[in-house]
Amino acid sequence: MFTKVWLIPALPFLGFLILALSGSRFQKRVIAAIGVGSVGISAIVALIAMFEFMIPLSKQTFYVHSVGSWFNVAGFAPKISFYFDALSLTMAMVVTVVGFFIHLYSAEYMIDEEDYQKFFAYMNLFVGFMLVLVLADNMLLLYLGWEGVGICSYLLIGFWYKNSENGYAAIKAFVVTRIGDTALALGIFFLFAHLGTLQIQEIMTRASTAWYPGSQTAVIAATLILIGALGKSAQLPLQTWLPDAMAGPTPVSALIHAATMVTAGVYLIARTNVLFSLAPPVQTTVATIGLLTLLIAGFSALVQTDIKRVLAYSTMSQIGYMFLALGVGAWSAAIFHFFTHAFFKSVLFLSAGVVIGAMHHEQNIFKMGGLRKKLPVAFWTFLIGSGSLAAIPLITGGFYSKDAILLFTWSSEQGSPLLWLGGVLGAFITSLYIFRVVFLVFFGQERSGSPKKPGPAIVIPLAVLAGLSVVSGFLETPRILGHITLFTDFLQTALPAVKSEHLSMSTETLLALVAAVISLSGVLLGFFLYREPSAILDRLAATRFGSAIHEYWYAGFGFDWLYRRIFIVPFVWISSKNRADIIDSLYTGIAKVAGWLNGVLSRTQTGLVRHYAVGIAVGAILAAAFMVFL
């Protein structure tokens, strides 16, 4: 099977090529079959590869599949080759499986779209690039995937191109992430200049022998990679693009802006964990940024009115958790949270999509209500997703992955009680904001007409992903709950174990208990505040302080406002002032002077003999004087 693994990224690209080059001669059913099928087969191949990989008999911890050389200039020689290990296979599996279900969902969800074919072409292209990103064995190929998914994200955010707003949101997403990408590019130049290779594993080996922990080179390398990751993963200070990216169709938000692409930064840091271990200050920065982002995004999610924006801020916040885990060296905990998050966040988006569709593109949660009965499938799947996001103890996947992160922020060498406290506060906000949505949308007064009943292509993905968002957590449980460590065991060949002090059973239990109580109390508070319209909130919002805070959080802590003033306005001002190119006025100035001189001197040409005679006389005198006196 391992000789066929190149099919995993190749099939989605093939799907893209067929759809892109065939013009518009397919029926929608054929388009869906190609679009969904290519990702589906790719998912099957990925799963088979994964099972073969797990067979304990094979001691191989990685497999490199080389397709060919890309180019080679004096040792700068990226190859087109794929690196399969536990980490990249896990990523590829999630990308293809979740990708497949979202494609299946889209086949029905997008059926009324004119540009059905274009949609599937872009989606397939995205999956292909995403797989290149996670499977690339060298930095340049990874960069190809990295930029490729960025472009697909751009194309799909702006999918409904007739509304210019969508287009601007798409440009914003691409440009902001590209600021991070340039740092990643610099990181590649830096690594190549200092270590002389592009191959990721070789970089790790050479770095660990050539650089000592805390050395300046390691810090620079890790910083550059980190900035790249921040852009893609929408972390502070490059997070502003993600809420606007919700302009794209909902399946796009589910696939690209929740489950896969935005977690590329997490993958990149996990992939290059050696560099971060060599640069402790940078790793601390990772944890700090993660914590800040998860809190800021959490508070912003609390006051949003658009259901998709709540989920967008939530994604930011959950990736903040993953960064927190990476920052304390809990590499596999970060990937575990990526794993569960991919399922529960995509189910949240997809069920929200059903709600939005039923509400005729209304996304304001305050205009919804009582949808529990009318949209039972959406309700239950959204509830399961919310439970998992809120980390409802024992029965949800999110509980186990978030618990692992919180535990390590306390116990790992780089962890601290302060980080843990921040994480727990975030958990409280998380369950509050998501159950705010649950109660506002699905409970209370009914406000809408009769929605359309979703067909099987929508129900099956919802059900499967909801199921996965529950069971995915059972792969890894804390010591008090059976101590299953399947996920970590699988990843241990690719990711180093977390360095942590040994906690007593009672401390660990206590920590888990606190986290559980906190998340449940968030749900409870949500129930009291949003189950029925409550006067407390209105009174709070009416105070000057309350409304100011509300506005500030609603605007995502004002980053857009700030960036507009310090970057966009000056840039546009300078460029519009200089539209005619100031340098050109130098040359037109020369031309003008020449023209003026022409005017002046041609006036001396009067045609009168006596003027010329005077001229000759004056010239002769001056020449004589010149010769005599000098």
Binding site: W70, F71, V73, A74, F76, K162, F571
Partner: protein, 514 residues
């Protein structure tokens, strides 16, 4: 002899085309096309030589011209020239094809001028005698002046004169430098010659070499164009007919880059090294300044014109970084830019033929009406913003890798050029094709001819982006020779203008062998 034919065939084709146009204008289009295809076959023959031999020079011909003055008719071709010859013929065919319906007046004369420009450009890439080079350099200029001045748009006379004066001023300084080189070299060796290879044997040193280098640099910097000598470009590109814009952006600018590679670095290695910080700074300024200006434009064609300033800034930066990565990157960047920007001009021209406007504020929402054109513009916009997998990425990335090795400080501002490139490229697509417009566009989408043009350029860019190795192999001997001459002078003079991380280079090469 094949080299002489390469240059002569387009010119003769042009004359025939002019004569026969009196009967039927269709003749002139088909004959031009045929002449270029025949020429292309000749170039393919040369490519086979390149493929089968390991030598650096693929063909060479030297005829006596004015032996008393040391002037000879000397043509030669190596990998670098060959690649640019291919680009010339390819874009030549494209410019005949894109004028198919656009040019209706004086069709025969138009094609005569077009073919003469192409002959001049081919001559520039093949001439190895300085006077002969200068002859071809001027030969490109005059027909181009008429192409802009006669078939151009509203402000064509102004643009044509501006173009002429700028290039002529640069060319004059180059002529002075050529004469200076002739006398200085002749004075020291005893034989007065304009032959490139003879001059190469004894590089000029000392302060005079700096001034001679500067003379050559003036001509190439205007052509490239380097900021602040770029202001002729937006006017000329915008006012020229589509074929003129394609040739200007795709080919004439490349003669500047070619000149830097062929003359500045090998003939004046020492002076070039000491001048490198200035030139690289000019390159950097060009990258950023061109990008900001591009974003500011409301005229679609002018926007595309300014992107050339930005992209060719990378070439200037790369040439003076002068290591394998940067030099190879500069070559790839020139070819990729020729394709991507040439294609954008073709498409903008096709759009202008349909809506009779280049003003982006009047556009918007065109995708609905002409999706195929929109898709093509989107593709080339993505190429121009440096999407990996397409040619421009390989060029820019190699240049940046090389510049980083030479001096990391230049790389940091340069990568921001990539951000700005994203801004103006996506802005262009957004303004023209997305959104909605008050006008209800009912336009014909790309015709078969236009689709074929776009498709061939798409194939070219994808090939350059995914498998540039054949091109890199062809140009490698030439690029290595250029770099060797530069390094030799650096070792000799010991006055290294900036630190090359030579300690790293061996490890790099080592890893390449793995």
């Amino acid at each position: 002899m094949i080299l002489v034919l390469l240059i002569l065939i387009p010119f003769l084709g042009g004359i025939v085309t002019w004569i026969l146009a009196g009967r039927d204008v269709r003749w002139s289009r088909w004959i031009s096309l045929a002449a270029l295809v025949i020429d292309l076959i000749g170039a393919i023959y040369l490519a086979f030589i390149a493929w089968s031999s390991s030598g650096m020079w693929l063909a060479d011909i030297q005829l006596e011209w004015m032996p008393q003055l040391g002037i000879s008719f000397h043509l030669a071709v190596d990998g670098l020239s060959l690649v640019l010859v291919f680009l010339t013929l390819f874009l030549g065919i494209i410019s005949v094809a894109c004028s198919w319906t656009e040019i209706q007046e004086n069709v025969g004369f138009f094609h005569f001028l077009l073919m003469t420009v192409l002959s001049g450009i081919l001559g520039v890439f093949l001439a190895f005698d300085l006077i002969l080079f200068y002859f071809f350099w001027e030969l490109m200029l005059v027909p181009m002046y008429f192409l802009i001045g006669i078939w151009g748009h509203e402000n064509r006379i102004y643009a044509a004169i501006k173009f002429f004066i700028f290039t002529q001023a640069g060319g004059l300084l180059m002529l002075f430098a050529m004469l200076g080189l002739y006398f200085v070299n002749g004075g020291s060796t005893g034989t007065y010659t304009f032959d490139y290879f003879r001059l190469l044997e004894n590089p000029v040193t000392g302060p005079i070499s700096f001034w001679l280098m500067l003379g050559f640099f003036a001509a190439f910097a205007v052509k490239l164009p380097a900021v602040p000598f770029h202001t002729w470009l937006p006017d000329a590109h915008t006012e020229a007919p589509t074929a003129g814009s394609v040739i200007l952006a795709g080919l004439l600018l490349k003669t500047g880059g070619y000149g830097l590679l062929r003359f500045i670095l090998p003939l004046f290695p020492e002076a070039a090294a000491s001048f490198a910080p200035v030139a690289m700074t000019m390159g950097l300024v060009g990258i950023l300044y061109g990008a900001i200006l591009a974003f500011a434009q409301t005229d679609l064609k002018r926007l595309v014109a300014y992107t050339s300033v930005s992209h060719l800034g990378f070439v200037l930066l790369g040439v003076f970084a002068c290591n394998q990565w940067a030099l190879q990157g500069a070559v790839v960047q020139m070819v990729a830019h020729g394709l991507s920007t040439g294609a954008l001009f073709v498409l903008v021209g096709a759009l202008q033929e349909r809506i009779h406007s280049r003003d982006m504020s009047h556009m918007g929402g065109l995708w609905t009406s002409v999706p195929r054109m929109g898709g093509a513009v989107l593709f080339f916009a993505l190429a121009s913003l440096g999407l990996p997998g397409l040619g421009n990425f390989v060029g820019e990335f190699l240049i940046l890798v090389g510049v980083y090795q030479a001096n990391p400080l230049y790389t940091i501002p340069a990568v921001f050029g990539l951000v700005f490139a994203a801004v103006y490229s996506l802005w262009l697509v957004q303004k023209a094709f997305f959104g909605q417009s008050n006008e209800r566009w009912q336009l014909p989408d790309l015709s078969l001819r236009e689709t074929a043009m776009a498709a061939s350029m798409i194939v070219g860019l994808v090939w350059l982006g995914l498998h540039p190795q054949p091109l890199l192999n062809v140009t490698r001997p030439a690029v290595e020779a250029i770099q060797a001459s530069e390094e030799a002078s650096r070792d000799a003079s010991q006055q290294v203008p900036f630190e090359i991380k030579s300690a790293n280079v061996p490890t790099v090469l080592e890893s390449g062998n793995r």
